[in-house]
């Protein structure tokens, strides 16, 4: 069953199709959320909230009528932005001010973790659009056409956005080095 057929059935509240939608997209969404959030529980929350919003939209007669994957990733990205804004508006407790390191981690994994946090912090200094393009293009391996559907901009705009995003990311990362 292709994505469009699956979406049509899901819109008719076919329970089997709705379950299939979850099984098809939740693993990829989890990875996407984790890469941006760096936290497994938050990534799980992000996936759960994304599907909850999807069901709510269908219940209200809204939601996507095509390009389901793009819709789900866009929803997840919006949730992450909300989380980030909420987090930024709150004071950081002292115990969270240092980068959490997994217990029993080796110096190498700790170093990787620190690098990941540095890149995430750099990504969150970009605009939401720039961040989304970089994540979808270079980590999720999406094509420009798929990205254009997800962010609702034409392909040339996606290319331009990607160019500016890479420039900005390079500038931020080099400044923090």
């Amino acid at each position: 069953m292709n994505e469009q057929t699956l979406l049509l059935r899901a819109r008719q509240f076919d329970q089997q199709s709705l379950a299939e939608v979850y099984d098809l997209f939740s693993p990829g969404l989890y990875r996407y959320c984790y890469r941006l959030l760096g936290s497994a529980p938050l990534a799980e929350d992000c996936v759960a909230e994304t599907f909850s919003r999807f069901l709510q939209a269908l219940y209200q007669g809204k939601g996507p009528t095509q390009f389901l994957k793009a819709y789900l990733y866009r929803t997840a990205h919006n949730w992450i932005i909300d989380q980030y804004r909420h987090k930024a508006s709150q004071p950081i407790p002292l115990e969270n001010a240092v980068v959490p390191v997994e217990p029993n981690s080796t110096p190498q994994t700790a170093e990787t973790h620190i690098e990941q946090e540095r890149v995430r912090a750099a990504l969150f200094q970009l605009t939401p659009g720039q961040r989304q393009v970089i994540m979808l293009k270079f980590l999720e391996e999406w094509t420009n056409e798929e990205i254009s559907l997800a962010i609702g901009k034409p392909v040339p705009a996606v290319k331009a956005l990607q160019h500016r995003a890479l420039e900005a990311l390079k500038r931020v990362l080099l400044t923090t080095d």
């Binding site: 329970q15 799980e44 209200q60 293009k137």
Partner: protein
Amino acid sequence: MNHNQDLPPDLKDALNSLRAVPERNRHTAALRRQNYLASIKKLPAQARPRSFNISPRLAWLAAAMALVLVMLTGTTITAVAAQGSLPGSLLYPVKTSLEDSQLALAQNSAAQFSLLETFTIRRFTEMDTLLSANTKLPPVLADRLETQFQRMTALAGTMETPGMTLALTSLQEMLQERERLMTASEGHPDDPIYAQIRQRVREMNQLVSAGLADPGQYRQQFENQNRNSSATPNPNGTPGVGPGPVGPNPSITPGDGQGPNATPTPGNGQEPVGPNPSITPGDGQGPNATSTPGNGQGSGGPNPSITPGDGQGTNATPTEKPGATPTPGDGHGFGSTPTAHPWGGKP
């Protein structure tokens, strides 16, 4: 598809550090899936209509807005429908109320006068329409017309001479044309309202002519009138519209019928219109004379050219004179009581 070749080398390593994602906790993932499936089962078989999703506050707001819209639309429709209504119809009061509102919004006397002229023409058109449909004219038409006449004459009295002359000339043209039409037509003798209107048009014509002949006297008369009306405030708050009905006022004793023993009282109770040299107030000549005591054209003004009743004749008591047919003055003066109505209708 790997897009890493598009990445600058210094960014490739940085972004690749995010590529590795630890294995998802299976237990947590299964639990989340169960929750999702449970929420699917709670969904109804059909999508909920959007309108049901409106919050109560929004619903109240929408209801209030709808109500206002209905009221506004209803009012507009009524107002538009009333424009074509005729005297005696259900919507006619709406039409006249709208006219009153227009008048209230007019910025100056000239604008009000112009509007009143328009409304007067409208009244005549309504009259023509009713007559052409063989419908008897309702008293409300005559009442309305009278009110407009009074307001116009009063407004003209408040204007400076050039404006007054302009206004009265315009009114005179309209009235003359209407009088000509009414005279040319066979008339509607069986319709008393028509006869009254015709009479009033004629009287108004004469009044306006007098005003044009002596604007100063015309204005002075209205100033006196305004002083009088300001001394007795109108409890209804209706703006004093002027000189009061022009015409035979039963409270006024027209004609002085001066006989030889009569005290020559200048004036006959009618307010003067102005010096009309062609008019000699009631002269009461001779005992058997068929005098026309007092014509109401204004004898009592301070105009020396006018000789008030001269009291010629002997033992003449005009009211008792045999054969005398005292014709009451035609009431062209302004000085009658504003509350009196010339047609016996409502003031």
